[in-house]
C-alpha cells in the first residue's frame, strides 16, 4: 500500500504528456528538473526503506535492553540506542513505514474527499458552491496543527484516528485547488458538447471533468504529503499521534529524547534528520511536478 501512490506519480507525468514513452519522459524530467529528480529519488528511497523495514533493520525496533541504554553510535548500534536500549537505526527504518503510511493515507483521504467536494461545488456552481466555499473557509481559518491537534485529542490515539485527524485540515485546501481547475474545465467546449448530447450531469462531472483534474491533483498530493508528515511528527511528539509501541519519528523526539539529549544527542539528531529528509524530498518533487503539470503556475 505504501508504494502505490508514488508508483503512480512518475507514470502520471507520462500520462499528461502521452506521446513519448514513460522512460523517455522520466529521463527528460530528470534532465529538466534535477532538483525534482533528487526529490523523487529521496521519496523512492524512503518508500523502499519502509517496505523492506524488516530486512533492513538490525534489531527489533521495540525490544528494550537495559544493558544497552544510551549506547553511542558504533558497530553494534549504528545510530546509537535510546534510554531503553532500543536501536535507533532500526526504529528509524520502521518509523519510515509508520510515518509514510500515516502521511500518505491522510494525504490521500483528505485530497480525495476535498477533491470530490471541490468537483461538485465547482461543477454545480450557484448557491451550493457559495455555501460550500464558506464552509471550507471556516475549516481553513484554524491553524492546521491546532485543528489536527483537537481532532486527534477528541478521537483518541490510534493510527486510523491520526490519519483522519491529519486529513481534515487537508480537505479545504484540496477542495479549493480542484474547484478552481473544475471552474475552467467546466467551460470547455467538449463539456458543452457532452451536455448537448444529453449526458447526465453526474456522468459529465465524473467522466469528462474529473479526469482532467489529475494534474493539479497529483501536484496537490505531493505538496500536502510534506506537511502531513510534519503534522504527524508534531502530533506524535506531543503524545497525541501514533501510539506506542509503533516507532514513529515524531515520538522518538518526544520528552524522553529531550531529557537525555545532552548526554545522547543522537536521540534528537537522527529521527529529526529522517523527518526533514522525507519532507524535503516530497517538497522538491512537489515543486518540480507543479512546474511540469500545472501550466498556470509555470515559471512562478
Amino acid at each position: 500500500m505504501a508504494t502505490r501512490p508514488l508508483g503512480v506519480e512518475v507514470p502520471g507525468v507520462a500520462m499528461a504528456l502521452r506521446r513519448p514513452g514513460p522512460w523517455t519522459t522520466l529521463v527528460r524530467f530528470c534532465r529538466k528538473k534535477p532538483l525534482g529528480a533528487i526529490g523523487g529519488a529521496i521519496m523512492v528511497f524512503m518508500v523502499v526503506t519502509g517496505v523492506f523495514a524488516n530486512q533492513l533493520a538490525t534489531h527489533d525496533p521495540i525490544a528494550t535492553d537495559a544493558t544497552q541504554s544510551l549506547a553511542r553510535p558504533g558497530p553494534e548500534h549504528w545510530l546509537g540506542s535510546d534510554h531503553l536500549g532500543r536501536d535507533i537505526y532500526s526504529r528509524i527504518v520502521h518509523g519510515a513505514r509508520v510515518s509514510l503510511i500515516v502521511g500518505i493515507a491522510s494525504t490521500l483521504l483528505g485530497s480525495v474527499l476535498g477533491g470530490l467536494i471541490g468537483l461538485l461545488s465547482g461543477y454545480t456552481g450557484g448557491r451550493t458552491d457559495l455555501i460550500t466555499q464558506r464552509v471550507m473557509d471556516i475549516l481553513q481559518g484554524l491553524p492546521l496543527l491546532v485543528l489536527a491537534l483537537v481532532m486527534s485529542a477528541s478521537l483518541g490515539p490510534s493510527i486510523p484516528n491520526v490519519v483522519v485527524a491529519i486529513s481534515i485540515p487537508i480537505i479545504p485546501r484540496a477542495a479549493r485547488v480542484i474547484r478552481s481547475s473544475v471552474l475552467s474545465i467546466r467551460e470547455m467546449q467538449y463539456v458543452e458538447a457532452a451536455r448537448a448530447v444529453g449526458l447526465r450531469h453526474l456522468r459529465i462531472a465524473f467522466r469528462h471533468v474529473l479526469p482532467n483534474t489529475v494534474g493539479p491533483f497529483i501536484v496537490l498530493c505531493t505538496a500536502q504529503l510534506g506537511s502531513a508528515i510534519l503534522v504527524e511528527a508534531a502530533l506524535s511528539f506531543l503524545g497525541l499521534g501514533v501510539p506506542e509501541p509503533y516507532p514513529s519519528w515524531g515520538r522518538m523526539l518526544s520528552v524522553s529524547a529531550a531529557e537525555y539529549a545532552q548526554k545522547a544527542p543522537w536521540l534528537v539528531l537522527f529521527p529529526g534528520l529522517a523527518i526533514s529528509l522525507a519532507v524535503f524530498g516530497s517538497n522538491l518533487l512537489g515543486d518540480a511536478l507543479r512546474d511540469t503539470l500545472d501550466p498556470r503556475l509555470r515559471g512562478a
Partner: protein, 317 residues
C-alpha cells in the same frame, strides 16, 4: 472604507459562528463524553459522583442548550472555568498572552528580515548557483520541524559554547538581555521555517514585476540597479508578500504550539497542549475559539493594510 470594514467584520462574525459549531462539534465527536474520559484512568466511579460532575459541566442538558449556553458565555467574555486548576480560565490565560504575542511578533520579524532580502537576491540572481543555493536553503527550512530545529539549536549551543539556555521562563523585568536571548532561539527556529514561504513569494512576485516596462524605463534613464530593485520593483511586488505574511501568521500560531512546549515558555499555545493532555475540554474549546478570533482579526488587519500599501486598492466599490 467604513462600509468595507463593516462588511468584513460581518463576514468575520459569520465565519466565527461557523467555527464555533465546528469546534463544538469536534469535541463531541468522541464516543462517550468528557466525563468518561476524565474517569477513564480512575477505574470505578461512583454513579452519583458522575452525575454531579455531568451536572456541573452542563452535560445533562441537550446538546443545543449546551451550545447556546457556551456561545452566550463567550459573548459575555467569560472563558469558563479550568477543570484542572479550578480557576477562571481567563485568569490563567491572561498572563500567557504577552508571551505568545511576543514570540509570534519576534518570529514574524525574523521571517520577514530573512525572507524578503533572500527572495530579492534570489530573484535578481535568477538561475545562478546562488539562486539555487538560496532556494534549497529555504526549502530546507520548510522541511524541518521547527520544534526539532529548536532542539538542535539548544544542543549546538551546549556543544560549541558550553552554554545552556535557561530552562525556565525569564521575565523581562527580571533580566532583559537573558529574556531576549531566551526568546530569540525559538523565534529563529519558527521564523526560519516561515521565511521560506515569504522568500518564495518575494522571488516570484519580484520576477514578474521586473519584466514590466516601467522597470526598463527606470533602467534606461540611468538609475542604478540597486535603486531600481529596492525602490521601484520591490514596492510594487510587495502586495502578495503582505498577503503571505498574513497567512503566515496563522501558520506561526500552529508552529508555536510545539515550539513553546520545547522551549518551556509559558504561552497560550503550550497551555493549549497542556489542556488537551489534561483533558480540560472546556478550556480547549474556549482556547481554540480564542485562536480562531485572533486569526480572523489578523486577516482583517492584513486586508486593511492593502489600502495603505497600494493606492490602487479602493474599498467599498
Amino acid at each position: 472604507m467604513k462600509t468595507y470594514i463593516a462588511q468584513r467584520l460581518g463576514v468575520g462574525a459569520l465565519t466565527l459562528f461557523g467555527m464555533s459549531i465546528v469546534i463544538f462539534g469536534m469535541l463531541r465527536l468522541a464516543p462517550g463524553d468528557i466525563v468518561d474520559i476524565l474517569f477513564a484512568t480512575g477505574g470505578y466511579v461512583n454513579p452519583s459522583e458522575r452525575a454531579a460532575i455531568e451536572k456541573e459541566l452542563g452535560l445533562d442538558r441537550p446538546v443545543t442548550v449546551q451550545y447556546v449556553e457556551w456561545v452566550r458565555q463567550i459573548l459575555t467574555g467569560d472563558l469558563g472555568k479550568s477543570y484542572r486548576y479550578d480557576l477562571p480560565a481567563w485568569e490563567i490565560i491572561r498572563p500567557l498572552i504577552p508571551v505568545t504575542l511576543e514570540l509570534a511578533a519576534l518570529s514574524l520579524i525574523v521571517s520577514v528580515l530573512l525572507g524578503v532580502p533572500l527572495g530579492v537576491i534570489s530573484a535578481v540572481r535568477q538561475d545562478t548557483t546562488l539562486d539555487y543555493a538560496l532556494r534549497v536553503f529555504s526549502l530546507a527550512g520548510l522541511s524541518m520541524p521547527s520544534f526539532w530545529l529548536g532542539m538542535v539549536i539548544i544542543l549546538g549551543l551546549v556543544a560549541w559554547f558550553g552554554w545552556i539556555p535557561p530552562v525556565t521562563y525569564v521575565a523581562p523585568s527580571e533580566n532583559l538581555p537573558l529574556h531576549l536571548v531566551q526568546f530569540a532561539l525559538p523565534a529563529l527556529a519558527v521564523g526560519y521555517r516561515s521565511s521560506a514561504l515569504i522568500m518564495r513569494i518575494t522571488r516570484s512576485s519580484l520576477l514578474e514585476v521586473m519584466r514590466e516596462d516601467y522597470i526598463r524605463t527606470a533602467r534606461a534613464k540611468g538609475q542604478s540597479g540597486r535603486v531600481v530593485i529596492w525602490r521601484h520593483a520591490l514596492q510594487n511586488a510587495i502586495l502578495p508578500v503582505v498577503t503571505v505574511i498574513g497567512i503566515e501568521f496563522a501558520f506561526l500560531i500552529g508552529g508555536l504550539v510545539v515550539t513553546e512546549t520545547v522551549f518551556n515558555l509559558p504561552g497560550v499555545a503550550r497551555f493549549l497542549v497542556e489542556a488537551i493532555l489534561w483533558r480540560d475540554y472546556p478550556i480547549v474549546q474556549n482556547l481554540v475559539m480564542f485562536i480562531a478570533i485572533v486569526v480572523i482579526l489578523s486577516n482583517l488587519f492584513v486586508d486593511m493594510l492593502y489600502g495603505f500599501l497600494d493606492p490602487r486598492v479602493r474599498y467599498g466599490h
